[in-house]
Every structure is written in structure tokens, then in C-alpha cells.
Symmetry: C2
Subunit: 251 residues, 2 copies
């Protein structure tokens, strides 16, 4: 008997962003598979399904494990933060179905979308993604660094707003600084920048700054950085908050 595999996006941290469809998939699951901190975000599922915890880097192995379970007739949910299709588990699972064991193609597969970190971070600061934008990971673990540089330069040269995922990690300390250098070749010093850490989670911190002040800002894997285009604007409201928006009208 073949079972079901659902890849669920919880949205950013807080369950206030988790869609009813994702909640329904969790409620019917026999097994949850995921990175430990994501499983911890759904520790209130009742009745409690079996939990299978993996390290964050073991994506292909995690996908095959989940598909093996589903092939045996279980109702498996793979848990992702944000949207599972944006630098997350949906790709690993679909790739495993397409290239792996024949049994995997018989599994009933569903991807449940979630609110991705870029649009959640944008919402906290206003509407910096209100016009054309690019989503780019600065990690060179899975792609060569020259590709990152080429894409970032192309995006800023074409005046896209750019949302940077994975801007830095302990093992990648210099890439963000180099990315800022590249952006400065095309954008003015006063370009608005949104730095969002732990969006929707305890300790959430949103900084609105400018391109020339970006050297003093620290970033890590839990940070999203949104780089404005030439038309992006920032202002303070009467309640002491900073807002950023990119008008829909251009030129």
C-alpha cells in the first residue's frame, strides 16, 4: 500500500502565519520529518505523530527517508519553515521522486505553500518588494561563487529590488561584504536597505538602514536582507517607525 507525502511550509516562525491547509496536513500526519528546530515549531500537534529529526544539511537523505516511509503506506509530512519551495525541502523531495527509486513515483505527493521569509520581512518594513524583484541566495555551498556575483550584478544593473537569503554563516564570513561592494557599483549610498532577523520568531529584529551604513550591520543565516532599487523610498511615521516602499510606477 502506497501512502502520502506532504511537504508543508509553516511560514515564518510564528504559527499565526501557518495556513489552515498546512495545519490540516499536520493534524492527519502519522509521521513528521524535519530539521529539529522546525519540528519544535509544531510540537503541539494532537494526536502526536511520530517524529523523525534530521540535521539541516541532510536534505537528500531526509527526502528519501520520508519517501520510503510514504511508500510503506504512512501519511508523512515533511516540515519546512517559510515556503517549502524557496531554498527548502520541496526541491529535494521532488528531485528524489524524479531521480530515485521507482516506488517513489507512486506516492501521493503534495506541496503546501507557505509565506516565504522575503515577503514576511518586506511586510514588517512596508512594501519594499512592491515592484519587480529578485530572490537570491548568497550561499556558495551549492553553487559557485562567480555565479552568485554574476547574478547579483545582473539584478542590480537591471534595477530589480533584491532579497538576499543566507547572506552569511560562520563558514562564509566574507561573501556578504563582497556582495555589498557589488551593489555599490550600481546603487546610490542612500539606497534603503531592510535587514530582517528572525521574522515572526522571538527576538525578531528589523533594521531599516542605507547602503552606505551597511558595513556596521551583522547578518547570519537567520537574516534576510532586502536591497532597494533606484526608486525605493524610506520615511519615518508619527509613531517612530521606519517604512520602506518601492512604488509600482517606474520611470
Amino acid at each position: 500500500m502506497t501512502g502520502r507525502l506532504t511537504v508543508v511550509g509553516l511560514g515564518p516562525g510564528d504559527r499565526a502565519y501557518c495556513s489552515p491547509e498546512a495545519t490540516a496536513a499536520l493534524a492527519r500526519a502519522t509521521d513528521l520529518v524535519g530539521y529539529g528546530p522546525y519540528l519544535a515549531m509544531v510540537d503541539d500537534v494532537d494526536p502526536p505523530p511520530a517524529r523523525h529529526e534530521f540535521d539541516n544539511r541532510e536534505e537528500a537523505q531526509r527526502a528519501r527517508f520520508a519517501l520510503d516511509l510514504a511508500s510503506e503506506g504512512r501519511d508523512v509530512v515533511v516540515v519546512s519553515s517559510g515556503d517549502p519551495g524557496v531554498f527548502a525541502m520541496a526541491t529535494a523531495v521532488v528531485e528524489a521522486v524524479g531521480t530515485g527509486d521507482d516506488r517513489y513515483r507512486a506516492v501521493e505527493l503534495q506541496i503546501v505553500p507557505g509565506i516565504t521569509a522575503a515577503t514576511a520581512a518586506a511586510a514588517r518594513a512596508g512594501a519594499p518588494l512592491g515592484h519587480d524583484f529578485c530572490v537570491l541566495s548568497l550561499s556558495d555551498v551549492l553553487k559557485p561563487w562567480p555565479v552568485v556575483e554574476q547574478r547579483l550584478s545582473a539584478a542590480v544593473a537591471a534595477d530589480f529590488v533584491v532579497a538576499l537569503y543566507n547572506p552569511a554563516s560562520r563558514h562564509r564570513p566574507w561573501q556578504f561584504g563582497r556582495a555589498v561592494e557589488l551593489v555599490r557599483e550600481h546603487r546610490k549610498p542612500g539606497t534603503p536597505i531592510v535587514v530582517a532577523r528572525d521574522v515572526g520568531r522571538p527576538g525578531e529584529h528589523i533594521t531599516v538602514t542605507t547602503l552606505d551604513a551597511l558595513d556596521d550591520v551583522s547578518v547570519d543565516m537567520r537574516t534576510i536582507v532586502i536591497v532597494g532599487s533606484s526608486t525605493t523610498r524610506a520615511f519615518h511615521d508619527g509613531n517612530g517607525r521606519d517604512w520602506v516602499y518601492t512604488p509600482r510606477t517606474y520611470g
Copy 2:
């Protein structure tokens, strides 16, 4: 007394995608402001708030109307489909606060993110947005067409996956065909393409096709088109479904 203005993203059509935070904002609203079809998506709010319906094109006017109401002490919710920060109402509202009447800056403003059409469409087809991608509107109503061409060419030349919003309308019949020509300068004929119409709504229709077969596909304002990169792959599963994914590993 100054009130509150919340710009809410309902996610794609179906309420199964509406976040608990969005639902809570709707439940406490005294007034809903929005385009008619979006207001119709929330006709079950109880107790029923006042409803203020606008034409889809009157964005700036709608934003000022909502801010005027909030300035008078009302608890106003501006309703958007998808994510309100992606080609939608959040930008118009934040711009109106930044550039409009001084009273607007005292309003308690909040943007509630939603699942945007691109990631919802991607989920239906697998994980085509699993690697770096761009989000680009093909509408030249608010920006010059040469800007659209330049951005699209830059994005495909840098091998981004590209999600196209507003690919065509009654008044813009030729732009999509021209965009396909530009994509063909950089991508192979077999490049996977996802055409998603009315995602999450009655009549939802997902087509997985290829770049060389795109001339026969009709698109409109309710369609999202996802153009694969050089690494995007497609396959059929054992249940007769097509799947598309872009691996996280590149090169």
C-alpha cells in the same frame, strides 16, 4: 482619535491559504476596503463590517480613502489577494502615508503578509522556484516596456528562474509573445514552463509545458507563468501528474 489600518493578504483564492493573523484582522475590522472580487472572498466575516468597494485600477484613491477612514478612528482592513506587498495594495498605502496628508502618519499601520501567487503556483507544479528566481510584471501600464525587456533579458541571461505576473490583458495582447521571443534567445526549446491560472480558486488550471510549445498557450491577468532556468527539470509521476523542480545545486 486615530485608528488603525491593516493591509491584509488573503493568499491565493481559497481561504485554506489565509493565515490566522489575516483572519484575526478581518474579524476585528469595522471597515473593509478593496476590489470587489477580493471583498467577495471574505463575505463570511462575522460580525459583518462596512464594505467599501473599489475598481481594481484606483489604487492610490483606495489607499487615501482607507487612510481617511482610519484617521477618523475606524479599524480599517484593506483586502488584497496573494501577498499585499507583491504588485498589490501595500505599496499604494505606504506611499500614501509617506507622501500624503500629515494625519496619515499617525495611523497605526500594519502589513499582514500572505502567500503570493508565484509560490502557490510553484507548489502546484513541484518546486520550480527552488533556486534563485526573479519576479517580474509584464505590464507596461506603470513602467515603460523597454524596462520590462531589459529586466527580462538580464534575468534570463543570468540564468534566474523567472515568475511572470500580469503576462497579458485585453489591452496588452502582444507583450507576452515578445517576452517569449526574448526568453528564447537564452533558453533551450525544452525548458520547462509552468502556466498557472486561478491558483487556489474554482477553475484552477495548471499546465506544465516547454518553451517551444508556449505559442499555443493563452494567458491573462489571472495567470502566472514560471520560466525554468537551464537546470530546471520536469517528469511524470506514476499517478499521471507532471512535476517540475529546479535543483538547489548549480553547476
